[in-house]
Symmetry: C2
Subunit: 139 residues, 2 copies
């Protein structure tokens, strides 16, 4: 493979039973201090599902019980640092008491998440996740 490649990341969409969305406060640039979905880079040798569960646990302390693919986010401009392709999952968890990990300044279920401008293209990811949930419930 001669060419440079995009980096590969994952993001997690987690709702609690009250419809609140799990968000972290970004500790580091870009979008420092802003709300974002839990997520991060995929390591060599782990599946994207494993990476999503690992990042969720590291950033929020919550354990994934199931993951469903939401979509692939590949716009070269979605991360100001470099080209990052993100695989987004809807993730179910067993308990709903987050605690922020080292990479996050905070982790909480947010009720008024629709009013927040999330980091990167995370508003679009959440919109797509909700559309996928609605579609699967119609089946």
């Amino acid at each position: 493979m001669a060419h440079r490649q995009p980096a590969l990341a994952v993001d997690c969409v987690v709702f609690d039973p009250q419809g609140r969305l799990l968000l972290i406060r970004r500790k580091n640039p870009p979008f420092q201090g802003q709300y974002a979905l839990p997520g991060g880079f995929v390591d060599d040798g782990e599946t994207t599902e494993q990476a999503a569960a690992r990042e969720l646990a590291e950033e929020t302390g919550l354990a994934a019980t199931s993951l469903a693919l939401v979509g692939v986010y590949a716009d070269p401009g979605r991360d100001p640092r470099r080209h990052v392709v993100s695989i987004a999952y809807r993730v179910r968890v067993a308990d709903f008491i987050p605690r922020a990990g080292d990479d996050a300044a905070g982790a909480e279920f947010v009720a008024n998440w629709k009013d927040e401008t999330l980091a990167f293209d995370h508003n679009k990811i959440v919109t797509d996740a909700i559309a996928a949930i609605t579609s699967s419930e119609r089946k």
Copy 2:
């Protein structure tokens, strides 16, 4: 990003109106000489959809008219060379006369593709693509 990451690839599932599947003959190892889906590695700065359309054109001469996500294939053992995560798309094309490009020893629509052992996990990708098509037609 301190860690080594998986490589990122795309694969294309293309059927013709007779239900034949577009396959290439692999020119190079691994799986040299075997049938495979058209596809290849994603370049920095292109979306995964652009990569799929580019690889399809390079390997088969066919122009993509629409792409729909099938799934993400991330098993670390799916490629014997190294960890490669592949994003698979169902791709529609405008015409159905393939010609093999430099990277492929042949490109053709294959009627009896169900009898073939495809390279990598491509049999599974095709099965998933058909399930997704069937599911969307039921809606």
